[in-house]
């Protein structure tokens, strides 16, 4: 089970990016921010809104020194076809067919055998700095994830609904 502020469980999974299959490991993202988002399944109707949503904002995430990884329990072949169906995805889709990574992060729906809608932001030191899980019925807000990433990168105290460019609270200020 992932604990906020603790080291993110390591993983090494096969993934698809631009039709090519490669291995992706948490180790490779040390020194960068990583947005790791889990979703239930390829070829469904809510998930593509999220997958394409992250894809549209991939450039903005990269501008924040962050990479995105999408994870589900579907096969590599399914991911490849799914990415094609969606007209291309700008980040890797990882296959957690054995469900070990989903389970390690505590985001596996054991009954359905699929990932929950969970998003983790891991800092350049490999620590989990943000973790949110929403009901399968509700798709996530990509812009909210980006806003949180930007807030985390300020390393300052950010009030509720803080937006980039707005003043942050003093780091030493106690609320």
């Amino acid at each position: 089970m992932v604990m906020l502020g603790k080291k993110a469980p390591g993983f090494s999974l096969k993934g698809v990016l631009q039709g090519k299959v490669s291995d992706f490991s948490l180790e490779w993202y040390k020194g960068k921010w990583l947005v790791l988002f889990f979703y239930p399944a390829d070829f469904t109707f809510i998930c593509p809104t999220e997958v394409t949503g992250f894809s549209k904002f991939a450039r903005e995430f990269r501008a924040e020194q962050a990479e995105i990884l999408g994870v589900s329990v579907d096969s590599i072949d399914s991911h490849r076809k799914w990415a094609e169906e969606l007209g291309g995805v700008q980040y890797p889709l990882l296959s957690d067919e054995t469900k070990t990574v989903s389970r390690a992060y505590g985001v596996l729906d054991e009954q359905e055998g699929v990932c929950l809608r969970a998003t983790a932001i891991i800092n350049p030191f490999g620590d989990v700095t943000y973790l949110v899980i929403s009901h399968a019925n509700v798709g996530r807000s990509v812009e909210e994830t980006l806003r949180v990433l930007k807030a985390l990168r300020t390393e300052r105290l950010c009030p509720s609904d803080w937006k980039p460019g707005e003043p942050t609270g003093d780091l030493k200020l106690k609320y």
Binding site: A41, D42, F43, T44, F45, I46, S78, K81, W82, E85, N137
Partner: protein, 243 residues
């Protein structure tokens, strides 16, 4: 099989959905009338009285059964129609839920998710087709055409009259207890015949189907007779008024 033959087959299937009313009507008409005729024959031994009683019971029974059939079918249809409307509203208001629901249903029928997704995506382009498929696959609301209250009532009435008239026929021809025996024999034979007909429609062994109908109906009549004996045993002072 040609496309026309498929369409014709569909109509046959819909018409055969009336087998419920047909069997119910004939069986009930037969059993209730033959029981009544036996009682009246025993009490009066007057063929005219037996015939008039039988015909009265036949028409009143047919009206009662047809009304009951109409009301029950109509109640079922109204609920069915309400469910169809609710499914339509749901699909309109929550298209994602409807799409996911249909996706899951197709998956449960054994279709891989990737193919199910392609089908649902295609169906989503045609609102009405999607809606009908959604109603049928997700909620099992696909047999609306079969539920026709008026037709059900008419079939029930005709079947009851046909069933009830058969045991009356011998009393037009002969008198006394012989007419009753013939009436019972004709009723038994008709029950067997209805079973054979059902076997023909369902493509089951005819003799077995006939015997099954015959055995169940006779067992039901025998059980009723047994209850009468039990009641008579415990209340020997009760007698059935004659005439």
């Amino acid at each position: 099989m040609s496309l026309q033959a498929i369409e014709a087959k569909r109509e046959v299937i819909e018409s055969r959905a009336r087998i419920r009313e047909l069997v119910f009507g004939v069986q009930d008409g037969l059993i209730s009338t033959v029981g009544l005729l036996a009682g009246v024959q025993g009490a009066t031994e007057n063929a005219t009285v037996v015939i008039i009683t039988g015909l009265t019971a036949m028409f009143s029974g047919a009206i009662s059964m047809a009304t009951g059939s109409y009301l029950s079918s109509n109640a079922q249809k109204e609920i069915f129609d309400k469910e169809l409307r609710e499914a339509e509203v749901l699909a309109e208001k929550e298209p994602y839920l409807a799409a996911e629901g249909l996706l899951k249903s197709l998956g449960q029928e054994g279709l891989p998710r990737e193919q199910s997704y392609s089908i649902v995506k295609l169906l989503l382009r045609e609102r009405d087709v999607f809606l009908r498929t959604f109603q049928e696959k997700v909620f099992g609301l696909g047999s609306a055409d079969i539920n026709q209250p008026l037709k059900a009532a008419l079939v029930m009435a005709a079947s009851f009259i046909a069933g009830a008239f058969i045991p009356i026929v011998p009393f037009f021809l002969i008198d006394g207890i012989t007419a009753l025996y013939l009436s019972v024999a004709l009723s038994a034979l008709t029950l067997f015949g209805v079973g054979v007909f059902k076997g023909y429609l369902a493509a089951k062994p005819l003799a077995r189907s006939g015997a099954q109908f015959f055995a169940i109906a006779v067992a039901a009549a025998g059980f009723g007779y047994l209850i009468g004996l039990v009641v008579q045993y415990f209340f020997p002072e009760i007698t059935i008024p004659a005439g």
